[in-house]
Amino acid sequence: MSLEKSWRRLQRAVVETQVWKSIFRVGIPNTNRKRVLAMLGNVVLHLHPVKTRKSGVKMRYTWCAGGMTFFLFLVLTFTGLLLMFYYRPTIEYAYGDMIDLREQVPFGVMREMHRWGAHAMVIAVWIHMFRVFMTGSYKPPREFNWNVGVVLLVLTLLLSFTGYLLPWDQLAIWAITVGSNMARATPLAGNEGPFSAQIAVNGVNLVTAGSDARFGLLGGRIVGANALLRFYVLHCVFIPLVAAFLMAVHFWRVRKDGGISGPL
């Protein structure tokens, strides 16, 4: 009995300190007003809706596919970040670092988790797209969000493409050779594509093997050191930032259009 009393006294003492009150402004959320204030006053919590609708947890409807995709994205970001402590994107070190990651670093299975997670995210994003299509959740007012989703799909595939080069093994080099050779055949922007010869100033071709889209992608004429570094920056920084921004738009639109799996 007295133990409980002194425990309560301790609690009250802590809760009434300036430090506590500066962090937790609202107190125990035991009224609806306090519940709302607690959510809205927190930077992480305010990103979520204050209430979850019953329709939002209909797994038979959503398959949780979008949620899975986002969860996998977070897993990949986190494991990728950890891998960055050991991997160097140069042609001297890339393959060796990858092998060392697997064999010498404790829990080096992180590298495999990153790779499997990437495969899983691509599969999940297709399943999510399929589900959205099958439930007609692309119809007005949700058409814009569908388009944002398509762009996110392309970004996911680009992340897979750029990440594939980083182990710098035979599979990586030839896959990217084939893929970047396709960039050569782009109309207007590829030096072996249609209409590229038409873009010339004073008889000097502007779109050549040293200045076309493929050159810009690889940073050179061959899949070499420049290409590795470029793909590393694209894979780790540029595309994730663009994807994160578009995901924010994607989730915002879902919220604004009535919440996930809300009635059409």
Binding site: F215, G219, G220, R221, N226
Partner: protein, 181 residues
């Protein structure tokens, strides 16, 4: 109250004489927006040009390949395959240089001397020793590189940056082969 009325009147009168016209505001805005667009355009252009380096650290595309007497008639020589991705082929009439890049999707084919053909390990494209394709998914023959005798020392000079395509009729160009008869 009296205070606010009197102070209210003075700024109102001031504003009436100095209010900008609709036209001047719009033209000012147009100039401002144009300047902003120009600034953004300049930034994007700079960024795009930044991504195209002027100097590359890649292996040279032209090299001296020894003397014609180093190459046997009727043979496909692989000594430069690893370093420069070139096969030197000598026939009774001429010497030419084939670029070792498969014209299907860019892998490096193998020369199978026993079967007298180039065969790509990726998707099975097959070429005769002339470079003409005869099997597999490739749509066109291997490409030839510019080849000549260097006037300085008589060595064979191969320049991969100049390519000759059979399907464009370029193999008859004198820069595409060395005549040996």
């Amino acid at each position: 109250m009296a205070d606010t009325i009197s102070t209210g009147a003075a700024p109102a009168a001031k504003a009436a004489t100095e209010a900008p016209s609709r036209r001047s505001v719009l033209s000012w805005l147009a100039v401002a927006w144009l300047a902003f667009a120009a600034g953004v355009g300049a930034f994007v252009t700079t960024m795009a040009r930044f991504l195209f380096p002027n100097v590359l650290f890649e292996p040279p595309s032209s090299f001296k390949a020894g003397y014609p007497s180093d190459y046997q008639v009727g043979e496909v020589d692989e000594r430069w395959k690893e370093k420069f991705q070139i096969w030197v082929v000598r026939t009774p009439e001429m010497i030419y240089a084939l670029i070792t890049v498969c014209t299907h999707l860019g892998c490096i084919p193998n020369w199978l001397a026993a079967q007298n053909k180039f065969k790509c390990p990726c998707h099975g494209s097959g070429y005769y020793r002339s470079g003409i394709n005869f099997e597999g998914p490739t749509p066109r023959p291997l490409e030839r590189a510019a080849i000549s005798i260097s006037p300085e020392d008589g060595q064979i000079f191969i320049d991969k940056s100049r390519k000759f395509l059979y399907e464009k009729g370029q193999w008859t160009d004198p820069a595409a082969f060395i005549k040996t008869t």
